[in-house]
């Protein structure tokens, strides 16, 4: 049992803290993963836990700090990254190294040989460490940490840079260690690894704990199964898929990322309609973690303030447009997944969820530090990850590019594809190698050019910013047209769009068509329907598109 309380580290005064108030319990019998991108404070957290660095906060290993342990190597096994990944002096043999450490730990020499067997190093025990591969070195480090038969393991990126075989070995070892009652805390950078290895995943971002979830929740909210489809006739397939209720996103020039429908069904659909496929593969896509927003009074939120404003602005738009597949949300309902654990979901402040996104956006544009910006304490963010919020705030630049690339066969911007998060847990497929269909399956069809390629590239908004805003306004107009059918708002949206560029008007046109054709469908499906029907209904429309090569101009 490791109790981490309030670990904080500020490397330089005035800088944002490398780690801020990390509080976490690592329970025995479970593998707990500390997940985060580089420089997010994982290693700092571990070093602070072990008192290797000065900082604030206390970490108790079974009730004592690490320094206070009488025999630390008998209670906590530590695997830290070493210089050059070497387990020890390069001129020493593996057996000599382990026996030396055994002497330091006060365990009999036989234990060293035992661990060499256990880590599958017995065959090379007589060789010097300089000929050891990274995987062998890492296993030797692990063997050294296990010498004193500790009940707790703390590992910093144990599988980083290892071969799949070694990674698999490490995973199975750590899992069996935890199953035997041990406590394991491990850091990792990849969510996929965290989902495979851990029973509990704590997500760090910029030194802050943004989520602490059981792995089932983690899989449900942070990983999203997708099917990647490639082929020459993706536009047609996208229409068919949208008709089936799937969520389709453009993925590269000639690819689609489909979610909400199985791989086999996509294959069958393509076969039945004679669509040639080049690739059909399942994969798992990472969802960014929800961002925890600090209260403004904490004194440390100077840097976070910017994100907060952006969170409010971006989070406000998709909220009305993203209904769950099961039911449209109420006026104040949470679009995200319902939390499993108590306390219940934190109600989002109204600014973040205003039914009039245009107004919210206006407010944000005028006042970057919105006074009504949502304050989501860490605990609530942990329990009820507000995924749309997080997604939007996390990748504003991705949003920008994706919105620029709004194309007729991509009716959904990636942020609107979020209801997929409610896919049942356990539906995370393992990533499979791409399995192209045999060409005999696909009937010989003349492969027409993708419409995006047919589109002349000259008639788009001259400036990316404008294009973004226009497309954005178009999306807003779509929402409003479907939701409220208010003439005035759509008029304003149209004027904004026409003022900004042609792309926006095209989107609004598509929205209008969609409204007509799909009738009472709500939210995202209406929008997707709009996108789906826009292209075939008006194929002659010359340039409603900001083409994929937009930025090259």
């Amino acid at each position: 049992m490791i109790q981490i309380t309030g670990l904080t580290k500020v490397y330089r005064r005035g800088r944002p803290p490398a780690l801020l108030d990390l509080t976490l319990d690592v329970r025995p019998g479970l593998v707990t993963a500390l997940l985060g991108p580089e420089e997010s404070g994982k290693s700092t957290a571990l070093r602070l836990m072990l008192d290797l660095e000065r900082g604030q906060g206390v970490t108790l290993f079974g009730g004592r700090t690490y320094r206070g342990l009488r025999r630390p190597e008998r209670e906590v096994g530590v695997v830290l990254p070493t210089v050059g990944g070497m387990a020890g002096h390069p001129g020493r043999t593996a057996r000599g190294h382990l026996r030396m450490l055994a002497a330091a730990a006060g365990v009999p020499t036989g234990r060293a040989d035992e661990l060499l067997e256990q880590t599958r190093l017995a065959a090379v025990a007589g060789h010097r460490l300089r000929v050891f591969s990274p995987g062998m070195n890492r296993r030797l480090i692990l063997a050294g940490a296990l010498l004193g038969a500790p009940g707790t393991l703390v590992l910093d990126a144990p599988t980083e840079g290892l071969s799949p075989r070694n990674i698999e070995w490490f995973h199975s070892f750590l899992r069996s260690f935890a199953v035997a009652g041990g406590t394991v805390l491990v850091t990792t950078r990849t969510p996929q690894e965290a989902a495979q290895l851990a029973d509990r995943v704590a997500t760090l971002e910029q030194g802050r704990l943004v989520a602490d979830q059981p792995v089932a929740d983690f899989r449900r909210t942070r990983l999203r199964p997708e099917v990647s489809v490639r082929g020459p006739q993706m536009a047609r397939l996208a229409d068919l898929l949208l008709g089936q209720g799937a969520l389709v996103r453009r993925d590269g020039a000639v690819g689609l990322a489909v979610s909400g429908i199985g791989r086999t069904e996509i294959g069958e659909l393509a076969y039945r309609h004679g669509i040639l496929l080049h690739e059909l593969a399942e994969r798992v896509v990472e969802q960014p973690a929800p961002r925890a927003v600090l209260p403004a009074s904490s004194g440390r939120s100077g840097q976070v303030q910017l994100h907060k404003a952006r969170t409010a602005s971006d989070g406000s738009q998709p909220a009305p447009t993203v209904p769950g597949p099961q039911a449209a949300p109420g006026p104040h309902g949470t679009p995200g997944p319902q939390p499993v654990a108590s306390p219940p979901a934190a109600p989002i402040p109204h600014a973040a969820q205003s039914p009039e996104p245009a107004r919210a956006r206006q407010a944000v544009l005028t006042a970057p530090a919105a006074p009504a910006a949502p304050v989501v304490p860490v605990a609530q963010a942990v329990q009820a990850p507000q995924a749309p919020l997080g997604t939007q705030s996390r990748v504003p630049d991705v949003l920008l590019t994706e919105t620029q690339h709004l194309a007729p066969l991509e009716p959904l911007s990636p942020t609107q594809a979020l209801p997929v998060m409610q896919a049942p847990p356990g539906s995370v497929p393992s990533s499979l190698p791409p399995s192209p269909l045999p060409p005999s399956l696909a009937p010989s069809l003349s492969a027409p050019l993708s419409p995006a390629q047919q589109v002349p590239q000259g008639r788009q908004a001259p400036e990316p910013g404008y294009a973004l805003r226009a497309a954005f306004a178009g999306a807003v107009g779509t929402n409003l047209a479907t939701a409220t059918a208010s003439a005035t708002t759509s008029a304003t949206a149209t004027t904004t769009a026409s003022a900004a560029g042609t792309a926006g008007t095209a989107a609004v046109g598509a929205a209008a068509t969609g409204t007509v054709s799909t009738g009472t469908a709500s939210g995202a499906s209406a929008l997707s329907g709009a996108g789906a029907h826009a292209r075939p209904s008006d194929p002659a429309t010359p340039a409603p598109v900001v083409g994929p090569d937009h930025r090259s101009e």
């Binding site: 290797l52 630390p72 530590v78």
Partner: protein
């Protein structure tokens, strides 16, 4: 005890340890042979014999064996910094001090052993390399070591010097956290210390400096000080003199204290 076992295993498992030891012995033998060749004919004086047997070259700040012991000590700490065995378990201050102490003890013991082996090897080499005209019966007599005189004192001082150099190598490397910087610092120490100590001895009015010159196989400050202060009034060096002992021991104690204070500020060795 665990620390001693660990350090002994660490030292013996490294190839560099054996390389250093072998190099020291080879150089010692070569220098001893060279010095023995240069001894002029006539009876072998104790000073010349000591110089040859301990292979003390005026070029070097320390006898070769002492330098080797210092290198071993510095490497012992430097390896710990570069390739920490169980880095995380050295967080506690007491544990680090214990490891430092263990290193000093093990390296000191090895240094003493190295000094003894050096003297034995060099005695054999000197005896073989002496010219036929040199009468060595006085030094290589049966009772030369047991029967008082300068020779046993000089050899004991040599052994103490080697042990001190080994320990100082560990400590200087612990100050600089680097083996090479520790070795350099160690080589600079006798140059500074000798002159300082000789000055101090002269200031206190006890004219023992020239006597120490004969005993210690060092050549630095004594000549320099004597040259500047007229003819020395020499008396026999009394190693049991508490004042002298205190003067000789004070730098070592100072070094240990500085190292302990430096470890206070650290989280790892």
């Amino acid at each position: 005890m665990r620390v001693l076992a660990y350090e002994a295993r660490r030292l013996s498992g490294l190839r560099s340890t054996w390389i250093v030891l072998a190099t020291v012995l080879l150089c010692d033998a070569a220098v001893a042979a060279l010095l023995a060749r240069q001894v002029s004919s006539g009876p072998l004086t104790v000073a010349a014999a000591v110089r040859s047997v301990t292979a003390a070259v005026p070029l070097l700040p320390l006898p070769i064996a002492a330098i080797g012991a210092g290198v071993l000590g510095a490497l012992s700490y430097g390896h710990e910094v570069r390739h920490p065995g169980l880095a995380a378990s050295q967080v506690g201050y007491l544990r680090r001090v214990r490891l430092l102490f263990g290193k000093v003890v093990v390296v000191g013991a090895l240094s003493a052993l190295l000094a003894v082996v050096t003297v034995l090897v060099d005695a054999v080499v000197t005896r073989l390399a002496l010219g036929p005209a040199v009468d060595a019966s006085q030094v290589f007599a049966r009772g030369a070591l047991t029967g008082g005189g300068r020779l046993p004192v000089a050899l004991a001082v040599f052994a103490v010097l080697a042990v001190a150099a080994g320990g100082a190598g560990v400590l200087t490397a612990s100050l600089t956290r680097s083996a090479s910087a520790g070795i350099l610092l160690l080589c600079a120490l006798p140059v500074l210390l000798e002159a300082g100590l000789a000055l101090f001895l002269r200031q206190t009015g006890t004219a023992r400096a020239d006597a120490a010159d004969e005993v210690l196989p060092l050549q630095y400050g004594f000549d320099w000080v004597r040259a500047g202060s007229g003819p020395a009034v020499g008396g026999p060096l009394d190693l049991a003199d508490p004042a002298l002992l205190a003067v000789l021991a004070s730098p070592a104690v100072l070094l240990v204290l500085v190292c302990l204070v430096a470890q206070l500020r650290r989280r790892a060795l």
